[in-house]
């Protein structure tokens, strides 16, 4: 049953360009996948480590900027991707060393500051980043000779990257290291007394989170063939954090649902409603009130509650029969 649902989901995802049939919406689907990849990366910290980062757009943007600079310097796409991810990992390590000095609010504030530093560099170091005008790249890669220039091709490439990310997250979450990380979220003191190196576990989780944020950053660069300081602004960090929280932290599907919600609101709803931000805000408020644990766990809870109510109604109907028959027996 579970395998069938998984297979069905894969078939639906793989055939999106055919049944959507319109390159505008196929592009939006690709955007959902790229933000879902980003949100899954952030979820490692927010969900599994219990460390809320508000500076992840910095890592996302560092990957995109590094990739753009390498490509414009004449590097091939393969080298540019590897180089950009390497730079992102180094940046994530620096972010982690600085921000892991605190937990809770301290951690949040340090990540905000780091994200703002990246934004300041992107905005002001014009000789390298081209400031407000941003950087453009001329081409998208063509893996195995397949062109990604049209919407369906790029969608499928994004889908492959997204599925690899999702698979990596599923393996990670079920692994002993994943359990160690969740342990440091729930009882860091106990974990230390049990023999775990809490700091190192969090540090490695930060690198893992940064790596997938970098992967998403490269997808973003190739999708837009352009990167500007807006990408690394605080609002971008807040947006991806909202995706994770609204979908459900510490779950596999939550960040994906959150990414879909935000991207759809941003692109589709904004075509009909000028104040789409207002609508998105209202949705977030509704989620916080009715499903504080997020859309995915909240829906699961609602489903269980509803199906439990239905099931309970049946035995009650059955139980209503015996009292009717009992008097007959007495007679």
């Amino acid at each position: 049953m579970k395998r069938l649902a998984l297979l069905l989901g894969l078939v639906i995802l793989a055939t999106v360009p055919f049944w959507i049939g319109n390159s505008y919406y196929t592009n939006i689907a690709a955007q959902i996948l790229l933000y879902a990849t980003f949100a899954l990366g952030l979820n490692v910290l927010v969900g599994y480590a219990g460390l809320v980062s508000l500076g992840h757009a910095g890592l996302f943007g560092i990957a995109a900027y590094a990739g753009a600079l390498l490509i414009n310097a004449g590097a091939g796409h393969f080298i540019a991707i590897l180089g950009a991810l390497g730079v992102t990992l180094v940046a994530a390590a620096a972010f982690a060393v600085l921000s892991l000095r605190g937990t809770g609010l301290g951690f949040v504030m340090i990540t905000v500051a780091l994200g703002q530093i990246v934004w300041g560099v992107a905005y002001r170091w014009i000789s390298i980043t081209n400031g407000d005008n941003g950087l453009s790249i001329a081409t998208r890669p063509a893996p195995f000779g397949l062109s990604l220039n049209l919407a369906p091709g790029f969608y499928w490439a994004s889908l492959v990257v997204f599925l690899v990310t999702l698979g990596a997250m599923a393996v990670f979450a079920a692994s002993p290291f994943g359990a160690s990380l969740r342990g440091t979220r729930d009882q860091p003191r106990r974990m230390n007394a049990l023999g775990y190196n809490v700091w190192l576990i969090r540090f490695l989780a930060f690198l893992f989170s940064g790596l997938w944020s970098g992967v998403a950053g490269m997808l973003f660069l190739y999708y837009n063939q352009f990167v500007s300081p807006q990408v690394v602004a605080l609002t971008s960090s807040a947006e991806v954090l909202l995706m994770v929280i609204s979908g459900g932290t510490g779950t596999l599907l939550g960040p994906i649902a959150g990414a879909a919600l935000v991207v759809i609101m941003k692109n589709v709803a904004s075509a009909y409603i000028e104040r789409w931000n207002f609508v998105l805000g209202a949705i977030f408020v509704a989620i916080v009130i009715f499903m504080p644990e997020g859309l995915v766990p909240g829906s699961v809870r609602f489903w269980r509650w509803a199906s439990g109510k239905l099931r309970r109604r049946e035995p009650r109907a059955a139980a209503a029969i015996p009292p009717v028959s009992q008097p007959k027996e007495r007679v």
Partner: protein, 245 residues
């Protein structure tokens, strides 16, 4: 050979001296009880021994090895385990997963991001055995959040025992338990083999006095009296400080 030795241990929080020149040593296999009124510095002493706090002065030795400057997490690997007075467990996980985490802490597997934890039969069987030992085997797959307080106290002990420690520090293992539950825990502790040295903090004199061979009385961070059960109970200082006479 001593299992645990504390020498000239000092610890102050600002102007408050919570541990003052504390000396004591525990023989291998011994059952030692530490008593003292609230605020005597008993839990602080445990936190110093496990390394959660750093002493200002003094030394701590585990089987003659100086561990004063060894990181807290390494001490678990050297055979030191503890329970907490305030229950410190993983509420979102099952009882089994709680104990698995305890075993995983001493295993190299804890760094492995690729294997599946629920297929690590050695860890899982070990955790089941530890839960059986405290009489909770039948609740292994229940989430911790759905268990009673008395059961959680026993999970605390199961987690410490699962690590197969050489020295076990029990911080008020009877706190908040009913009379029946106390008896269960008492039997459980009595069944721990003599390879494990036990140091226990406890307020409940009835159960605690039966358990211990030697007793150390702490008062305002100082060791006031130390000796056998009879000596300590008969000592005028104990009566003055602890029994309030």
């Amino acid at each position: 050979m001593t299992a645990l030795e504390v020498q000239g241990l000092d610890k102050s929080f600002g102007g408050l001296r919570v541990t003052s020149r504390v000396n004591f040593s525990v023989e291998p296999g011994e059952r030692r009880l530490i008593i003292g009124p609230n605020g005597a510095g008993k839990t602080t002493l445990f936190n110093l021994i496990t390394g959660e706090l750093r002493p200002d002065r003094g030394a701590i030795r585990l089987f003659e090895r100086d561990i004063t400057r060894i990181a807290s997490r390494r001490r678990a690997h050297l055979g030191l385990a503890r329970t907490y007075q305030i229950i410190t467990l993983f509420p979102r996980e099952t009882l089994l997963r709680n104990v698995v985490l305890s075993l995983l802490g001493l295993s190299q597997l804890r760094w492995n991001p690729l294997r599946r934890l629920d297929r690590q039969t050695v860890l899982i069987d070990g955790a089941r055995a530890a839960l059986d030992r405290v009489g909770l085997g039948h609740l292994a797959d229940r989430p911790l959040a759905q268990t009673a307080y008395g059961e959680r106290r026993r999970v605390e002990i199961a987690m410490a025992l699962a690590q197969n420690p050489k020295v076990l520090l029990l911080d008020e293992p009877f706190a908040g338990l009913s009379i029946d539950e106390r008896r269960d825990v008492q039997e459980l502790l009595a069944a721990i083999p003599r390879e494990v040295t036990i140091v226990m903090i406890e307020h409940d004199m009835d159960v605690a006095l039966d358990f211990a061979e030697r007793i150390t009385v702490l008062h305002f961070g100082e060791v006031v009296v130390e000796g056998t059960r009879a000596e300590v109970v008969a000592h005028p200082r104990t009566r003055e400080i602890y029994l309030g006479e």
